[in-house]
Amino acid sequence: MNELRKVLFRDDQETTSMPIVISSRIRLARNLKGYKFPRHSTRMELSRVAETCKSILLGCKLLKDPKIFAIDSLSATERCALVEAHLCSIELSKSEFGAGLLVANGNSSAVMFNEEDHLRLQIFRQDLDFKTMWLRISEFDDYIAHSTNIAYDANFGFLTSCPTNVGTGMRSSVMLHLPGLVITSQVNVVINAVQKLGFVVRGLFGEGTSASGSIFQISNQYTLGLSEIDIISRLYQVIISVIANEELARKWLLKNKSLAVCDNIGRSFGALSWSHTMGSEEAISHLSNMRLAVDYGFLPQAWRAGLDCLLVNVQPSHIQLANDKQLSTEERNIQRATAIRKFFEKMPSLKF
């Protein structure tokens, strides 16, 4: 098993998980002083920036067990798999010379270099503890600033290649599982309200009520004119109120539509347990129903983290990478169903 597969298919999977919240992230954009931004750089500049970034990062004691991947050394499938695992942006996955990704601390830290900005530091968690995330990433950021000169302006703050990121350079986001709001057709109302407050919402697999999997990412739109703590606490307030709305919708559903809810969950359980071929969109929507079943208490809580992991592992590039030979779509659907059946063999039955 090569290094990349070790990162993608970890055996020491995260065991913490909570209802509704899938994961949280803070990302900081930083640029090295004296170099053009990556999209305007020559190969020479890109390679000098990459070397500088690598030597700084590898000397950082805050990064345990770091692994560095040069993007142009990865196949298209490998790049897509990193995007599926949310470790790498689409932009980075499409970059070539000089672009790289560092993954460390059991996938809870990742650094993209020579993406749109020279450095993008990222930190992930499976809960909403933004305070801890901020302290950790800020300490990491201080280390970077003490190791090299950073492009900074007293007025504009941290300078980034797109002025929509300037200032704090910070993007904080939460991935939420909102089937209650989707089923009750309230999700678009909630999305509009959240957007008016200055946050960006996007569906992970599709948009609005048609988002399969009912998974949405909410992140801050503004990076300048607010402090990091302000941005984080506003985001937190918004997330808490979205969660409260989702909880209400779930309670309403169980009280007023319990037949439909249980029927849906039961059918998904059957399909996941017994199908012999399954497309990724279908798998996503059934797995989303299983996460809801865990939150409702129909399945043991301990299975939630495993379901989250499976949701990533059934994505097309993950299925391809788990197999040695090149697969067609039909073959992938068979492999996907097989992997899911195997997972569900050990799953206790639903208790409504």
Partner: protein
């Protein structure tokens, strides 16, 4: 079904953006959204809007005397920025300032950075030197004699006025730290 505003395919991504307190709706297909960096998790709706061109925020740009601007360091111009949605270098923030200010006014909460400052030397002595990469040529900050790579310009004068302010504002812990620093750098 709404159509993608770039290529006319069925739109799957619907974006609402407030520009100059006006709501703008943008509809895109997956491909175009990805092409304009929308799925790239920064969610930078501005580059999408920028790419939509004059039609969408023409009024914004016509009012601007940005046509003659060019960055003396990288050659980036407002046109290049509009096409790519990216600036060329840190100096663009100086040379293309009227453009930057307009963009910031339209897309940000404020015009002044209120977040953390570029890391200064306050953390000296708590292990930063040890944590540093084994850099071949070790730079020593002239003013603070710490191992960080900047030459921090905390001259004695500004430290003394900071101290006065701290005392006036009754921030005695800060004052104590400043007093120690002044003592250290006076030698």
């Amino acid at each position: 079904m709404k159509k993608c505003q770039f290529c006319g395919k069925p739109a799957t991504v619907h974006l609402t953006q407030v520009i100059n307190s006006e709501m703008q709706n943008v509809d895109l297909c997956d491909e175009c959204a990805a092409k304009h960096g929308l799925f790239e998790q920064s969610g930078s709706p501005l580059s999408v809007l920028a790419a939509l061109g004059e039609a969408m925020f023409g009024t914004t740009n016509q009012n601007l005397a940005v046509n003659g601007l060019i960055c003396s360091n990288c050659g980036c111009t407002p046109t290049i920025f509009k096409e790519s949605g990216r600036l060329g270098c840190e100096n663009c923030y100086k040379d293309l300032r009227p453009l930057i200010e307009k963009i910031i006014e339209n897309s940000q909460k404020g015009v002044k950075h209120l977040g953390k400052q570029l890391a200064n030397c306050t953390s000296e002595g708590n292990g930063n030197a040890e944590r540093e990469a084994p850099a071949p040529q070790k730079h020593i900050c002239k003013n603070h004699k710490c191992a960080c790579k900047h030459d921090h310009k905390h001259d004695l004068g500004s430290l003394k006025s900071e101290l006065e302010r701290a005392i006036a504002e009754e921030r005695y812990e800060d004052a104590a730290v400043l007093r120690d620093k002044i003592k250290k750098y006076s030698n």
